[in-house]
């Protein structure tokens, strides 16, 4: 796993259950990441592509806040390789928005390509995780998320 810069402001009240948005075009991987996150006591919403994710985050142009009106997303975890909008492009869109730019975004990929990792971290990704995801990866991630703000 590779971590980004430490200037993070993962705004979470202690005692809150983290709400994670997981984005992946693979059915199998969505099911897996959802279970891994639930096992780490997170509330999970899944999306199968970038545009759907943006919609859920209330970042689609002209769209009403779907999730974020009611339930604040504390973390976005997204696959890198997706048809249409890649995870990298999704990351950029989130970091460019005024509303969501503080939300940590984690990128997952089955390929450990240094240039890929670096460009994601440079664009503000909190972390880059190699697939297939394991319990230990997600535990580490959610511990970080819970420990901030203390």
């Amino acid at each position: 796993m590779a971590s980004g810069s430490s200037s993070s402001n993962w705004v979470m009240e202690s005692g809150d259950i983290p709400h994670v948005l997981a984005v992946d075009d693979s059915l199998v991987d969505r099911k897996l990441v959802e279970k891994l996150l639930r096992n780490s006591c997170c509330k999970v919403t899944t999306a199968e592509n970038g545009p759907k994710a943006l919609e859920l985050l209330g970042l689609s142009s002209g769209e009403q806040n779907t999730l974020n009106g009611r339930s604040k997303v504390n973390l976005v975890i997204t696959d890198y390789c997706m048809p249409g909008m890649t995870g990298y492009e999704l990351l950029k869109k989130i970091k460019q928005s005024s509303v969501m730019k503080e939300v940590p975004v984690v990128i997952m990929s089955s390929e450990n390509i240094p240039t890929r990792v670096n460009k994601c971290l440079e664009e503000g990704a909190q972390m880059f995780i190699l697939k297939p995801l394991k319990q230990s990866d997600v535990k580490q991630l959610t511990c970080q998320l819970m420990n901030l703000g203390r």
Binding site: S26, L27, V28, D29, K31, L36, C81, K131, Q135
Partner: protein, 153 residues
């Protein structure tokens, strides 16, 4: 057959699947995720994998049969298959996909066609093995037993 015997049979079968390289440690991750809240988790994920794989194999067959082959498209499908097989620990399928991708890069259509057959075979193989394994698990649970926890170093 009594529960203890079934459990031993299951353990023996699991061990052989690992020894023969059909499954790797990632499958154990799935087993470990199954709990009382989600007692059917492994069956659900494996079923999704089967559905997904059949769709991908269909798309792949179509793509390699085209007059003018789109290697990028074929590679995209194989990449997907590699990902999902890796996620459930279907090691031999994953490895077959890795080899397949190399030939996509070389734009070698004959090798690609042969790889497709390989991948299909490995998929059918692991599908049968997993169905057998899950059937054994069902029998154990139906007889009031629990699935043993397996360690793999």
């Amino acid at each position: 057959m009594e529960v203890g015997q079934m459990q031993r049979q299951w353990m023996g079968y699991m061990k052989s699947l690992f020894m023969e390289g059909f499954l790797d440690g990632q499958f154990l991750q799935l087993q470990q995720l199954q709990d009382e809240n989600n007692p059917e988790f492994v069956v659900e994920v494996v079923s999704l994998f089967f559905e997904d794989s059949e769709r991908i194999l269909k798309d792949l067959s179509f793509a390699v049969d085209q007059q003018s082959v789109d290697f990028k498209k074929i590679d995209a499908h194989v990449h997907q298959f590699k990902g999902s097989s890796a996620s459930i620990g279907a090691q031999r399928v994953k490895n077959a996909c890795i080899a397949f991708r190399n030939f996509c890069e070389e734009q070698n259509i004959d090798a690609c066609r042969s790889c497709l057959q390989q991948v299909k075979q490995e998929y059918i193989h692991v599908k049968n093995k997993l169905e057998t394994l899950l059937r054994l698990e069902q029998q154990i649970v139906a007889a009031g037993g629990s699935i043993p926890m397996m360690e793999w170093n």
